[in-house]
């Protein structure tokens, strides 16, 4: 490295390209004005939507004769309106948790298989098929769930209730077909499988070769390489992949609305028919709702929005932390 002396500084740019630069500058100005403007426009639109929603939600909540947070029932179009999100919030969270518990391990397994076990000519088609699952419209999942999954799961429900009733969640206290939270969770699991799988697979493929060779050179088997090098490296990536899946599961509407037989019974027994989720409830009620009824649904939608925002925010935070971490080690 030669030390920089004044004579080393590059000469001033020649004058000739100036003209080109000035149109470039005008272009820069127009472009930056445009992008600034559209950025601001976007913010204004967002703010006015949020403001509108909050305003309508506030109206609905002020007319609520029940407690918005703790009431089970949803009679928002009645007079006086009585409604609360308790059942919906619990249903949304529970069905999403069930979906995560089922989907994440399977997705990680498939992702590991694609990235580290399958021969290349098998890996690509499998990855493609899993990605294809994401292209199926959710109403199709709903119809399939209602026609195929629900009757098919009747046997599983019986079996779970018989042998695992002691776990409380698998204790079926109400008779009925399998239009319950477990079925919804299974369906949601299938729906979020592609996103969780493909993000995890990408992360696993990024494990630096030298990290894997460190384990290999110690005499690690393939599974031990995964345990020592791949999973620790991919952990935060899998977490953020799961969060993305969770965000999707929380907001899923049509599939849930098609499969569930909704009710406003609060139950933590997964096999009991009924329950509801925010999105499903809005889809089911919005058409016939009157003024206050619609505002009440908007209020519930706002809660779902905040919930999803929190989940996505957490996912982003984890991804950002991960970037920092890998940067420090680069």
């Amino acid at each position: 490295m030669a030390s920089t002396t004044p004579t080393d500084t590059p000469p001033a740019p020649p004058l000739s390209p100036r003209s080109g630069t000035s149109t470039g500058r005008a272009g820069d100005k127009i472009f930056s004005g445009l992008s600034k403007g559209s950025g601001i426009l976007l913010l204004v639109i967002m703010a006015s939507i949020a403001g509108f929603l909050t305003y309508r939600a506030a109206i609905a909540i002020s007319k609520d004769e029940g407690n918005f947070l703790t009431t089970f029932d949803w009679n928002a179009s009645a007079d006086p309106p009585v409604f609360g999100i308790a059942v919906l919030l619990v249903g949304t969270v529970i069905s999403s948790i069930v979906a995560m518990v089922i989907a994440v391990p399977i997705a990680v397994g498939i992702a590991l298989f694609i990235s580290h076990y399958a021969p290349r000519r098998l890996a690509a088609p499998i990855a493609y098929i899993v990605d294809l699952l994401a292209a199926v419209p959710s109403i199709i999942y709903g119809i399939w769930g209602a026609i195929v999954l629900v009757p098919y799961l009747a046997g599983l429900n019986l079996w779970l209730d018989q042998y695992f009733a002691w776990t409380y969640i698998f204790d079926q206290t109400q008779p009925g077909v399998a239009r319950n939270m477990l079925t919804v969770g299974i369906l949601l699991a299938i729906m979020i499988l592609p996103i969780v799988t493909s993000v995890s697979r990408e992360v696993f493929l990024q494990v630096p070769r030298m990290n894997e060779e460190a384990a290999l050179a110690l005499g690690a088997t393939r599974w031990e390489v995964i345990r020592l090098s791949v999973l620790p490296f991919g952990r935060s990536g899998v977490i953020s992949a799961s969060m993305l899946g969770l965000g999707r599961a929380l907001g899923e509407t049509m599939a849930v609305a098609t499969v569930l037989s909704p009710s406003y019974l609060m139950s933590l027994h997964l096999l009991d028919p009924g329950g509801g989720t925010f999105a499903q409830n809005i889809a089911a009620k919005f058409g016939e709702a009157n003024g206050v009824g619609r505002d009440a649904l908007i209020a519930s939608g706002l809660v779902l929005f905040v919930l999803t925002l929190l989940v996505n925010g957490a996912a982003r935070l984890i991804i950002a932390r991960r970037k920092e971490y890998s940067g420090a080690n680069a």
């Binding site: 630096p208 030298m210 990290n211 060779e213 460190a214 384990a215 290999l216 050179a217 110690l218 005499g219 690690a220 088997t221 031990e224 020592l228 090098s229 620790p232 490296f233 952990r235 420090a328 080690n329």
Partner: protein, 258 residues
Amino acid sequence: MAKRIDVSGLSAYYGSHRAIDDISMTVEPRSVTAFIGPSGCGKSTFLRTLNRMHEVTPGGRVEGKVLLDDENLYGPNVDPVAVRRTVGMVFQRPNPFPTMSIFDNVAAGLRLNGTVRKSELADVVERSLKGANLWNEVKDRLNKPGSGLSGGQQQRLCIARAIAVEPDVLLMDEPCSALDPISTLAIEDLIGELKERFTIVIVTHNMQQAARVSDRTAFFNLAAVGQPGKLIEIDETERIFSNPSVQATEDYISGRFG
């Protein structure tokens, strides 16, 4: 326990490309053997055939025999995983497990071998870190991540990790090329100590380093780009650097290469 390596007729391929051709040599136990030669002549490839790491590269394939004492590493019933547990390796870029603590890094190999007793692990970790001349620098922060150490410390951590399982042979591929002169000296001293217990093979581009640390030196060369690398000669280091029997070796060592 240090073992003799006896290579005969060894060729290695990447797909259809033959990277090294028909190499035969003997590496004595409790000695340091240095591999030198121009870039691309197959030093790393050859080194990686000695612990069956070559075949983890897609398309990697090996022909020939490598005897460790009397056992052929490429025999029909030999498990490559077991081979790698007895032939340790240190890489060019230090590669500690980034999320693991210093302690866990050193203990990783032992845990793979089934040692779980905390006291036994602690003993071996301390002994290995001392063996790698790292103990004094890290004894107060064994639970901190290994990736928080300096490059030279990380490389010594990798050496500690490799010797913790008491391998028969220790392979090192340019272990100092990413390090400053002081860390390099530290590792060279360490190699001098380790050869009392292990058979050591080291790849280096640094002639002085080869002259300083090794007992025997092997010179590899390739006829032209795209041609397989060959072993030109292997001899006492002193002889290679003073009076090699092949002209190409002398040209390379004196910088008249190419």
